[in-house]
């Protein structure tokens, strides 16, 4: 799991780097958020090497604070659960505390907690289990000062696995709750 998280983070970083490269080719984002819509994209020149390896560069400086990317990359949007459990794990507390801190910093942001399960269960039971997980994350955030009106929950049960594979690693990744930003991000 630890290794896969690292791999995922690396992938996210690569995507952000690619996005930053294409973004910097048309407009150069300031650290503060933009006050007017960007120029129409079609006329902007394409990056010179879009299909090769991600360009090297200062990735951290390209992430807009308060953005979806900022939340996913610098905070972490997903926490994992044990089999048939909705207890917040020790390794999830830090991530959720960071989510609460970030949400306090960006009070316009509203989120939807999406509860998910592995496929080792039947459909309806897993819907209920995913709902328990989503609610456990919601309660954690609320108890850390986030207004309940900013947080909705949904369970996808076993319908939306992040890892389509089978085996313990895939199951472990699919037992999760993801905090998805619905609105208010920069």
């Amino acid at each position: 799991m630890a290794t896969s998280f690292t791999a995922r983070t690396a992938l996210n970083l690569a995507l952000v780097a690619a996005a930053a490269a294409s973004l910097s080719a048309c407009t150069r984002p300031k650290p503060a958020f933009q006050t007017q819509p960007p120029a129409p994209a079609p006329t902007a020149p394409a990056p010179t090497t879009p299909d090769t390896a991600p360009p090297a560069g200062p990735v951290g400086s390209a992430t807009v604070p308060g953005s979806q990317q900022d939340f996913v990359v610098n905070v972490g949007d997903t926490v994992l659960f044990d089999f048939d459990s909705y207890s917040i794990r020790e390794d999830a507390r830090g991530i959720l505390a960071a989510q609460a801190g970030w949400l306090r910093q960006y009070p316009a942001v509203r989120v939807r907690i999406e509860g998910n399960t592995d496929e080792l269960g039947t459909r309806e039971y897993n819907l209920a289990l995913g709902a328990r997980r989503a609610n456990a994350v919601r309660e954690f955030l609320v108890s850390n000062g986030i207004g309940g009106e900013r947080i909705t929950t949904i369970s996808y049960g076993k319908e939306r696995p992040v890892d389509p594979g089978t085996g313990d690693e895939a199951y472990a990744r699919n037992r999760n709750a993801k905090t998805a930003i619905v609105s208010g991000a920069r």
């Binding site: 939807r112 309806e124 819907l127 209920a128 709902a131 989503a134 609610n135 456990a136 319908e159």
Partner: protein, 438 residues
């Protein structure tokens, strides 16, 4: 939607065979020599000959559908037509019994198709070969495009005459058609004949649908839809195509099931992470809460008399089966074996409760008595799930998923002897069997 018109436009004319076929005595069921005992697990399928009906291609097609139905029931063994000695049977003349005895056909089905005033008229006879006796002689009339339903009706007549129990062939199955592979699965509400023919699709796959169920009149289904904004349960009228939400429940709503008389729907509502069972009276839309336990309570299924409900709860610490009164009174645990029990479904006869059981890294479909006794495991695989009963309570359909592969529909008889895939070519899950069509 072609399939919707079936139900409405299909009217049968049934004519007693003896009247049409005056040369022979009326059927005498009491003296029949052959009989199929559906209760014996080690049964030898009855050898039966189903030669092509007269009347061209449609006659041959009808007899093929009949033979396939009987074969799939596991109670009959249709004989290879190449072995037939007597050819070109005439439905109006008694068959040459010695030539059928010669190939050890215990029963013989023959028939004749004619088209009269644009209507398909199908005469058929069922014979006890060794008693040299006619067991059935019936005539069906319908529109030509309904030839498969005529074949299913005839199959049901044969099944009932030889087993003494109602058949289940003139039925349909509502299910979820799956596409897109495991990484990007799409789910469409779909309906087909029980033998996989005539599939049609009722939703477009732009959102997730789950767990459809038929009402007792076969015209209406209920199902759950899941979107990022929330979940909903719907009634969908197959005849009119009208869809109606059962309302907003301020939380996830899922696992809808009709009561046996179709007047109520039981379902689960989740609030603050806790799922409980509710029931709505469809006549006045009033809702009553049936469970109030801080556990998962879901997958409610009514007994056929409507008096009790079996459901799934993890109040003991792991998912198990419980039975309570239809008003929520007196919940009592009935599953005590090792493993996790889910998706209970009461059989149409009231005799059994089918379930999914998870133990030792495998999933199983099984049955037990409503008091929890006589547990019997019928299947085993990486992921078997969600049984549904044929209306006569003899066959279960369920979805089976191999490790890493998509879900497919399978069926198994209640003895566990006849296990086979349902001949629907695509990915599919969550089957629900209709009652016998009218």
């Amino acid at each position: 939607m072609n399939s919707m018109r079936f139900l409405k436009s299909f009217a049968f004319a049934l004519v007693a065979g003896a009247a049409v076929f005056g040369g022979l005595a009326a059927p005498a069921p009491a003296h029949a020599q052959i009989e199929v005992n559906v209760n014996r697990g080690d049964i030898q399928p009855l050898p039966i000959a189903v030669p092509a009906f007269g009347g061209g291609q449609v006659g041959a097609d009808i007899s093929q559908v009949i033979a396939a139905n009987l074969q799939r029931s596991g109670l009959f063994r249709p004989l290879d037509p190449n072995s037939f000695v007597e050819r070109d049977l005439n439905a109006a003349i008694q068959p040459a019994f010695p030539s059928w005895k010669q190939i050890n056909a215990q029963a013989l089905v023959n028939g004749q198709v004619t088209v009269r005033d644009g209507q398909l008229v199908v005469d058929f006879r069922l014979w006890d070969v060794f008693a040299e006796q006619q067991l059935l002689g019936l005539q069906f009339t319908s529109t030509p495009e309904n030839w498969r339903r005529v074949a299913h009706k005839i199959s049901d007549q044969i099944y009932e005459r030889l087993t003494g129990e109602k058949g289940y062939f003139d039925t349909r199955v509502v299910f979820v058609a799956e596409g897109g592979g495991r990484a990007a699965r799409t789910k469409r509400l779909a309906i087909m004949d029980q033998d996989g023919a005539n599939p049609s699709y009722l939703t477009d796959g732009s959102y997730i649908v789950m767990t459809p169920r038929f009402s007792s009149n076969s015209q209406e289904i209920t199902y759950m839809a899941l979107r990022p904004e929330g979940s909903a349960i719907y009634l969908f009228n197959l005849e009119t195509g009208r869809r109606e939400s059962l309302g907003n429940f301020q939380g996830m709503v899922f696992a809808p099931r009709f009561s046996p008389d179709g007047s109520k729907v039981a379902f689960s509502v989740e609030r603050s992470g806790n799922s409980d069972i509710f029931v709505m009276d469809l006549r006045n839309r009033s809702t009553a809460r049936l469970t109030a336990d801080p556990s998962i309570d879901t997958s409610a299924s009514f007994s056929p008399d409507g008096a009790r409900i079996v459901f799934n709860s993890d109040r003991s610490g792991s998912p198990q089966l419980y039975v309570m009164g239809a008003d929520g009174s007196g919940p009592r645990r009935i599953s005590f074996g090792q493993g996790r029990y889910t998706t209970p479904v009461w059989s149409p006869t009231g005799e059994f409760i089918a379930f999914t059981k998870q133990i030792g890294g495998q999933f199983h479909i099984g049955v037990m008595r409503p008091d929890g006794s006589d547990e019997r495991i019928l299947t085993s695989s990486y992921l078997d799930e969600g049984p549904t009963w044929a209306p006569n309570g003899r066959v279960l359909m369920f979805s089976r998923e191999g490790r890493g592969s998509g879900a497919k529909l399978w069926s198994v008889d209640v003895t566990g002897r006849v296990l086979q895939p349902v001949p629907y070519p695509g990915g599919a899950s969550d089957p629900a069997w209709s009652p016998l069509l009218q």
